[in-house]
Amino acid sequence: MKVSFPYMGCVTGFKKLFELLGHEVIMPEKPTQRTIDLGVLNSPEFICYPFKIMMGTYIEACEKGAELIVSSGGSGPCRAGIYGDVHKKILHELGYDVEIVIFDSLFENFGAFMNQVFKIKNKTPTLKVMKYAYLVFKMINQMDGIEKELKHLRAYEVNKGDFDKCFDKIKELYDKTYTLKQMKKTYAKALEMLHAVPVNIPPENKRVRIGIVGEIYVIMESSTNMDIEKRLNALGVEVENIQYISDWVKHHIIPRRFSKEESWKMFDKGYQYKSCNCGGHDMENTGAIVHFSQKGYDGVVHLMPFGCLPELITRSIIPQITEDYGIPVLSMSMDEQQGEANIQTRLEAFIDLCKNRSNKQQISPAEAANSKELKKEFAGIM
């Protein structure tokens, strides 16, 4: 069957899984302006932003002939739970004959989960399915690890654009990897490539670190958040995002009892501020802000889709967390109307604020040289 899925962060892993299961993969496009326009046009006006973008992605996939779309579901009281059904209804109304399979957490309804697995496993023997799943799981873990490091190092790249080019090449490598043995080589090669990129790392007391928390889709998919991580990196700031595909998988697949996952610790840290999760990831996010503060980060950027209920709740707790832990938090809401100049100004001001607070403001020679080369520094700011 021709399978597709939403585009969210790095999608090489998904592609691999479906290929191994013998499906023809319709690669979703990284959301472009057209995707967003299509999605906005065909979605209910007041639904959350991620819904609209996924809508656009699905329509584009259907245009290319997708027959099955695999996505993840949400639990709890927010709108994530209705995504799949409403998407399906709209696609059918548009005349696309497409099936949507939604994966929920393994533990809430094991039977339903297995049912979904049977829908996509395409006559592959179960043992093989497990093997493939393991391979892909490992792959996304490795790739996420690389990406994490990249978001630190990119802050210090000497030639603008080096790391992005490097990561594109790494993705290509993984794309051509099909066995565990190959993967070992790929991983070594990828790390080598990553570390070969020239960087100029300042002394420890001058490094500025920013954590990113928020609604999973807008923090993971750069096209929906105006490339916020890249913008921060371009300001010379290291970025640590709390959401990665691999983390999500671990959180939902490994029972809590056996899990050393950070996400559960975040949950515990969040509990001091509220007694229940309000849907989405508001509990983890609340906890994550505390966590970043305890780890000595200089600030946190909180991203939410316009109108996202769970994250509005996180946002309302932020002043309290800042008061208790002293960590500055910039909360921004994202939607299709977002202006670029405004975001850039707020980010720059926020980084100035964080640096000043942690006393990292002194002008470094690098910065002085930088302003000499304003021209090269042009990061699209108008």
Partner: protein, 320 residues
């Protein structure tokens, strides 16, 4: 005499100022931007160059802030290019070291900046709506047929208070018409509008923040006495209006440029007043490379492409 330049490009006005070693403002021009930031900066610099020649100024640093700051920075050869929030705060802290809350209301944007021990600890900026900005007042003044300059004084003569629902310009307008029909005087209506603006501003930007005195109010709208009084009533405290309230952003960025040049020990990047004569043309086109259809902007200096930006993929910006 050494001077330090600050340029603040706003959507309504462009401010060009020069300060001396002791932060005395020796030159200040306020030019309508009219959608042409390059021309208004050039005009400001041209006027400055005349004064610089007669008074013997030596430009030792240049800072640029505001919208389109990168581009103008490129044109003049800026030592520092800073966002508006940092720039405004830098100036206020310089003049009022113990300030804790800065209100800034300009033509099309507004901000609240919270400061503690001379350090910005929090800020917010209007993102969606112009109801808390100067253009709201301009618009209503026009409707009421009162020159905006008289607006504030008139508000002070009001005897009664009328509450105008001012969540957004459209609502305020219809509410204002209704109140006019009820027989409220112009002065009362105007006072009502000032109150509405400040209420909006504090509700939208001050939410979740603790606002503590000393309060400093700056930006173009700080010229309006009606607004100042509305602020004093609503925060229940005296409000300080800096002498140079209209050009604080420019002063702030001039101060940053000064300290940057002093710290680095390097000479300024300033291209000299000749940059006014540069043939500096920004052009934009829609890229057809993929369905993002980015609006790419390129800046051409004397016939050569000097910079490009606006592309999502880096295909153009990395080509120069």
């Amino acid at each position: 005499m050494r001077v330090y330049l600050g340029i603040d490009i706003g959507s309504v006005s462009t401010n060009v100022i020069a300060i001396d070693e002791n932060t005395n403002v020796v030159f200040a021009r306020y030019i309508r931007t009219n959608g042409q930031p390059i021309n208004s900066v050039k005009q400001g610099l041209r006027e400055l160059s005349v004064q610089a020649l007669s008074d013997g100024y030596e430009v030792s640093a240049v800072g640029v802030t505001g919208s389109g700051r990168q581009m103008i920075g490129l044109m003049v050869g800026a030592d520092v290019v800073k966002n508006e929030i940092t720039a405004h705060a830098a100036a206020t802290v310089h003049f009022y070291p113990d300030v804790q809350t800065i209100f800034e209301i300009g033509g099309q944007d507004s901000k609240i900046i919270i400061v503690k021990d001379k350090i910005v600890t929090d800020f917010s900026m209007n993102t969606v709506c112009a109801a808390g900005t100067g253009s709201f007042l301009d618009h209503q003044a026009e409707r009421l047929n009162i020159p905006i300059e008289q607006f504030g004084d008139l508000a002070l003569t009001a005897e009664n208070t009328v509450r105008i629902a001012g969540r957004c310009t459209v609502f305020a307008e219809s509410d204002m018409i209704a109140k006019q029909q009820y027989g409220y005087s112009k002065a009362e209506i105007i006072k009502g509008l000032c109150d509405a603006l400040v209420r909006n501003y504090l509700n939208n930007l001050g939410r979740g923040k603790v606002l503590q005195p000393p309060f400093v109010f700056q930006g173009g709208v700080a010229a309006n006495k009606g607004i100042i009084r509305a602020f004093e009533e609503q925060v229940g405290h005296e409000i300080i209006i800096p002498k140079y309230f209209g050009v604080m952003g420019a002063i702030g960025v001039a101060l940053s440029a000064k300290s940057q040049v002093e710290a680095s020990g390097q000479p300024t990047n300033f291209k000299g007043f000749d940059c006014i004569e540069l043939d500096f043309v920004p052009k934009s086109f829609e890229c057809s490379g993929c369905s993002n259809a980015c609006e790419v902007i390129k800046v051409i200096i004397n016939g050569e492409v000097a910079a490009m930006w606006g592309d999502k993929c880096g295909k153009w910006s990395s080509s120069v």
